[in-house]
């Protein structure tokens, strides 16, 4: 019963946070710009367009009335209209979301499968050659600008070796000959489920470079954080006590310390997701990936304000929920966390 109460409490807290996020995004979109109406009227607006924007936004109304209008329309699923595409933003989001999620998911998978084990080994064998090598690699990974790394990889694998494509999710040839049936929007799933193996292979080839580039920072971060988690756990008194009872090193590391280190690893997951999400924007530019990142950068350049605000809100909500799930996971794993 205690656990359930905690769940409810955290859920309510998340709702409160989302409401605050809405207030903040509203503030950014209406109060920060020097001339909100001009911002919402598109680039180089005429006086008439500005006047129309003024009225439609209700900028002549007091702030709390504006917010109420904004709030109710968001709840109804109306996120406004893009100034560029003239489409409802909600529809655009649905189109672009799966592409982004597929990429982010792959990057996170790499972070967990590659980063965490390397971090554990690196920390357990601290001071060894393997540890030094891993540290060098991981510290480089968090220092390199990923958008630049993308260019380098393209130069090497596309321009020089010619084994991987430059960008996009699938080649035009495949799009024409073996089109992907839109089920989930995740091409890997859609092609596999429909047995479209030519397209599956093509999708995979297109995913390799963007996913690996995007994964660089999360993997490196995961290695660094897991390593320091393991080192900290191994320096705890209960590990010394276990050692003195005669347990061998391997048992202590894999049967005991690992479980202690898993809890802070949830934090690693959270940060991996955060950086995958933000790095994704840059990766999509480099690889011409048709996802939310391209959508928002296009909006930035065209100063398409409704899009920027709505995407920020939308992505943040997803982010808040993922963090909520991770928080709860962490609480469930740690017996010390009081659920009162």
């Amino acid at each position: 019963m205690q656990r359930f109460e905690y769940l409810i409490k955290r859920f309510i807290l998340a709702i409160v946070v989302i409401l605050s996020v809405m207030v903040l995004t509203f503030f950014i979109s209406r109060v920060l710009p020097s001339d909100p109406a001009a911002a919402w009227a598109g680039s180089h607006p005429t006086a008439e367009q500005i006047a129309i924007a003024n009225q439609r936004l209700g900028l002549d109304q007091p702030l709390h009335v504006q917010f109420w209008r904004y709030f109710t329309s968001v709840l109804q699923g109306d996120l406004g209209t893009s100034l560029q595409t003239k489409q409802p933003i909600a529809r655009d989001l649905r189109t672009y979301l799966p592409a982004t999620m597929e990429l982010v998911f792959c990057a996170m998978l790499l972070a967990v499968v590659v980063g965490i084990p390397l971090g554990v080994l690196s920390g357990a064998y601290k001071g060894s050659f393997f540890d030094h090598l891993t540290r060098l690699v991981s510290i480089s990974g968090v220092s390199i600008p990923t958008f630049w790394l993308g260019l380098l990889l393209q130069l090497f694998f596309f321009s020089q070796l010619k084994i991987l494509p430059l960008g996009s999710r699938i080649s035009t040839a495949t799009a024409i000959n073996n089109p992907v049936t839109q089920l989930t929007g995740f091409y890997l799933i859609d092609t596999a489920v429909t047995g479209n193996w030519a397209a599956f292979k093509d999708t995979l080839l297109h995913l390799v470079l963007p996913a690996c580039t995007l994964a660089t920072y999360p993997v490196a971060l995961a290695i660094r954080m897991t390593r320091s988690n393991i080192i900290e756990v191994l320096s705890e008194k209960y590990i010394l006590a276990a050692r003195i009872t005669g347990l061998p090193r391997r048992t202590i590391l894999f049967d005991l310390a690992l479980k202690n280190a898993i809890i802070p690893t949830i934090t690693v997951l959270g940060l991996s997701f955060a950086y995958s999400l933000t790095g994704d924007i840059l990766i999509e530019i480099i690889y011409s990936w048709p996802g939310l990142g391209s959508y928002i950068t296009g909006a930035v350049l065209a100063i398409d304000f409704p899009v920027i605000v709505s995407v920020t809100l939308f992505v943040t909500v997803i982010y808040v929920f993922i963090n909520l799930i991770l928080d709860l996971l962490q609480a469930m794993l740690d017996p010390r966390v009081s659920l009162e």
């Binding site: 705890e236 209960y238 006590a241 003195i244 005669g246 347990l247 049967d255 005991l256 809890i263």
Partner: protein, 326 residues
């Protein structure tokens, strides 16, 4: 004199730090006989805890044994490899620490933790290991062994945690238990209970106990023999009653005189002037001489050896008792 179970011979331990080399233990010598409770007593910084860790060869960080021998059944532990030591830890020598909360892994139940230990040493299956664990919980006088087995450490009181630690330490059949300040972090009433438990375990199971403490009262009550440590050396050792009564070494005398119980109500307390050395700067001659009111000129030059005075069994390291002073 019975053959010593554990014999520390001129043990020296040093730590290298950025502040310099710390000589935590400086040619320390004493022995623990089979079936006895031996007290190693001294203030903070005298090297007593480091000695305990040195015996099981789990010195932290940059600690190294820089000299001497640690004889256990005649074999020098200081010369053994890690693999050899691992066979000895738990099985022959065990240790419990001051803070039982920090010594128990918070994410496993007590049962899971003791299970690991028993099964590693005996290869038993779950059921047998559990039975043995519960037997040990009974032996350490835990009120509800079954409940303790299934619970997480943070739900137990300090006293119960320490009993669990003792059970976990002894369940593999160790014959020597090193107890490093086992009662310091506990309430006074619980302290007495834990000490009683240790004496009972010694009486019933025949284990020897090296009791490391700063508390002279604890030593007086439970230890047959005692060694007084100062600045990494032993300054006096012998049967507890003799040492406490005769107080040969000025430091021993000062310690006992400094106890609040040593003075009458209304008199001022009698501390020992000066500070405990920090181990960084080596002190020429006897380490206690800067604070000693009975210091002789030779004390500043020559470090006195630990020699028997009156009995073969009561030794002290002080120039007052050697021929030169006569």
């Amino acid at each position: 004199m019975s053959q010593a179970l554990l014999s520390i011979e001129n043990l020296s331990v040093r730590f290298k730090t950025y502040a310099g080399t710390i000589h935590a233990v400086n040619s320390m010598s004493f022995d623990v006989r089979p079936g006895e409770i031996f007290g190693l007593v001294g203030e903070s910084g005298c090297g007593k805890s480091v000695t305990g860790l040195a015996v099981v060869r789990t010195l932290p960080g940059s600690g190294r044994i820089s000299g001497g021998r640690i004889l256990f059944h005649g074999e020098d532990l200081a010369a053994k490899s890690e693999a050899e030591m691992q066979a000895i830890r738990g099985r022959r020598i065990a240790m419990v620490f001051q803070d039982p909360t920090a010594s128990l892994n918070p994410v496993f139940t007590i049962g899971q933790q003791i299970d690991h230990i028993i099964r590693h040493h005996t290869g038993d299956n779950h059921e047998t290991a559990r039975r043995k664990a519960l037997e040990w919980f009974n032996a350490v006088a835990l009120p509800d062994p079954q409940a303790v087995y299934d619970t997480y450490p943070h739900r137990l009181s300090g006293g119960m945690q320490q009993r669990v630690m003792i059970a976990m330490a002894l369940c593999s059949g160790a014959e020597l238990l090193i107890a490093d300040e086992p009662t310091t972090a506990l309430d006074v009433t619980i302290q007495a209970q834990i000490l009683e438990l240790l004496v009972k375990l010694r009486d019933q199971q025949g284990i020897s106990i090296l009791l490391i403490t700063h508390n002279l009262g604890v030593v007086a009550e439970t230890c047959e023999r005692v060694a007084v440590a100062y600045a990494g050396q032993i300054v006096e050792t012998g049967p507890t009653s003799a040492v406490l009564a005769r107080r040969l070494h000025p430091y021993t005398e000062g310690l006992l005189a400094a106890l609040p119980t040593a003075v009458q109500k209304g008199q001022t307390l009698q501390p020992i002037a000066g500070q405990v050395p920090d181990g960084l700067q080596p002190i020429a001659g006897c380490p206690f001489h800067p604070r000693c009111s009975k210091a002789l000129p030779v004390c500043a030059q020559v470090n006195p050896a630990l020699l028997p005075v009156e009995h073969a069994d009561h030794l002290t390291a002080c120039h007052l008792y050697t021929e030169a002073a006569a």
